[in-house]
Symmetry: C2
């Protein structure tokens, strides 16, 4: 994409009321726009990053048998009353509103209830199980405070996967598969090293649930890390958990962290309340055994910014960067030799399918370099009047070293002939 085409501009200052580092940088670099506290819009660069993250999650969830759907935001009160979660004493983060005619409705903060209800149309026999529907859908949560940028919003995208199994014996292997898939997802996104499986309180059907917590100074959660086996225990259960549930070690290190994912054994809580049953091999009616599994793609993006930035701006991991290459032409306006060389390299990169942001603007070199650092694309490639013919000046965002290499050598970086 040519930068002259992109409508967003970078800016020196973030909005005055913005306190979080992730939102400050993302706003300044033109990735997001703040609508109100806790509500952000995704501009073209931010939308590209979000879609990279979604793409990685989708691949890994499809690989373990997920099938994608798209549930509604508006919710039928009657369905939620059956589990007791319509009541604001049970759930205090509802946004509720009214249909014309007066009936109350609410905006989904999660989707266990409507999905369990709809599965009654599709599950009746043990032959129909297991099934693993999931979606990427906006959730609404009426948070009292929203000061963590896109890490904790009042409106945010969530990948929510649900498992419907015959019983715990069928459920548990899938639960373990999701654990592995989540590790793979966070590794691919680039935050794997900082993300630890964290034991959290379970429900009536399991001793523990599990969170994926990314160790990060901006985190609102506290976790207790067992440095021996790299798992953690969350703050809620640490008092009753004197030793690491995995290795027995009693030494924990307290860390701030952000919960980027969680997996939970729901058991038959929702299927009992909503009447989701199946006939087993002997003809007996049984409640479906459920689990739920969430990841916040926007939150993950925010955490990546918190982890990977420096005083100049964002430093995107390659897998989720909005573009792979930031090609900067210092040729100025007009049809100079360097301008033509930069155009030609852009064409070459486009043809090869290397996602490139091409800074073709008529602006000063200093402004272009500052923008490139702020936006944080992994490779910067510069062509100026001084660049020798057939060469390009490349620099990684993570390094200060500029290397002059041949265009062909540069293309080999991306495994191109």
């Amino acid at each position: 994409m040519k930068q002259s085409f992109l409508f967003t501009k970078t800016r020196r200052d973030a909005p005055k009321d913005e306190v979080s580092q992730n939102a400050k940088l993302l706003i300044r670099a033109g990735f997001i726009h703040k609508e109100m506290a806790g509500v952000y819009s995704y501009l073209p660069l931010g939308f590209r990053v979000l879609n990279k993250i979604i793409g990685i999650i989708r691949e890994e969830i499809n690989a373990i048998g997920g099938q994608e759907l798209f549930l509604s935001a508006l919710q039928d009160k009657a369905v939620w009353e059956k589990t007791g979660r319509w009541d604001e004493r049970a759930v205090d983060s509802w946004f509720k509103t009214e249909l014309k005619g007066g009936a109350e409705t609410g905006l989904a903060f999660t989707h266990e209830e409507p999905l369990t209800a709809l599965m009654r149309d599709h599950i009746s026999s043990y032959k129909d199980l297991p099934k693993y529907p999931y979606q990427f859908q906006v959730k609404f949560r009426n948070e009292l405070r929203a000061r963590s940028g896109i890490i904790r919003g009042r409106e945010f995208l969530m990948k929510d996967l649900y498992s419907f199994s015959k019983n715990e014996a069928e459920h548990m292997p899938f639960y373990e598969q999701v654990k592995k898939a989540y590790h793979a997802i966070f590794k691919r996104i680039g935050i794997g090293e900082k993300t630890v499986l964290t034991f959290a309180s379970g429900g009536s059907f399991s001793k523990y649930s599990h969170e994926f917590q990314t160790i990060c100074a901006a985190g609102e959660d506290a976790i207790h890390l067992c440095e021996k086996c790299r798992i953690a225990v969350n703050d809620e259960i640490i008092t009753e958990q004197t030793a690491c549930p995995q290795c027995g070690n009693a030494q924990f290190a307290r860390e701030k962290a952000v919960e980027v994912g969680n997996i939970f054994t729901l058991g038959t809580r929702f299927s009992d309340a909503l009447g989701l049953q199946y006939r087993d091999e002997t003809g007996k009616e049984m409640s479906v055994f459920m689990g739920s599994y969430g990841i916040g793609p926007g939150r993950t993006m925010g955490v990546a910014v918190e982890l990977f930035s420096d005083e100049k701006g964002i430093v995107w991991p390659e897998s989720i960067a909005p573009f792979s290459v930031h090609l900067v032409s210092l040729a100025g306006a007009g049809k100079s030799k360097a301008g033509k060389d930069a155009d030609a390299l852009y064409e070459k990169l486009q043809k090869a399918g290397i996602e490139t942001l091409y800074d073709d603007r008529d602006a000063r070199a200093g402004e272009k370099f500052a923008d490139a650092d702020l936006i944080g694309i992994p490779f910067r490639a510069v062509i100026s009047e001084k660049t020798p013919a057939g060469k390009v000046e490349i620099k990684k965002r993570t390094s200060d070293t500029v290397r002059i290499v041949s265009v062909n050598e540069f293309l080999k970086t991306f495994h191109l002939p």
Copy 2:
């Protein structure tokens, strides 16, 4: 996808309170689920169709210079007060709700206001124009009645494109380009022949706006078709429009229709109210000249079902069908010769990238054929114990003729060697 994997099942009857033909068929075939009147969830088959439509729209809008973003649903009251559209006397379809702390917020029924406001951060000079941001985002409209299935929902997906231009002279050619793109979109979706450009009332900045109306018995709109030049005039302006605005013909035929798209010259209404200005070549501050352009992908899907169905079920146009081939194995359970042949053909189709729903279920032939007709995939391919080796029994959904052809000949249908 194997049908045994797909979690949805077909059903004989639609919900009793469902009156629209599109929702009845889509629910019975397992494409959508009714949450409440005017609120539908998209199940895996329906989500596939929706994404096909989105893909076509995205390609055509990108081709005319659109750049995709994703705005928030929750809206800042202050922004809407500036245009007078927060007031429910001006807009009676708001869903409003409250933030913790008491501030009012609403759910976007469109996005002119927030987008105009955010563009102030990115447009300051004539050099920044024109720009064409767009999105696919859920809109919320508190309709009093919602009886048209996914054709008119209280919550629905919309593709909304906005143009920001220097002036009317720059705006008009783009407006004409969108017209062409819309014709191309509806043609590719398969509803082009029934979709006519319809003159509608304009605003302060143009005599007309334009709707794209699909002639369809289920339509809630009335249009007046000039059969000479295949354009129409909508019901609002027909009394003042005695002759066809395009060819002068005074003969109109009244038709029921569904508005699947619209294009509108907004002029400076929103930029004036919200202070979106640019400096022109002489340094003078000017208001940005705007347009807005909508298409409802879900509505378009509903219209396609209304147009293309018969007593047996849906008859999807090839471009938006959830799958290209419905491969039906009549081999029964176990590893019969026919079962192995069907498995092998499925593998071949998968490898070739032909999207195939493979009915591998242990069910009666009659049930499988009825499901195939209801779901409406363009090609049905059957392999039974009676099918000669290396052959397959194919039938188009639009025809009653079954042909026995070699597998290789069948693959040629999809331009495969």
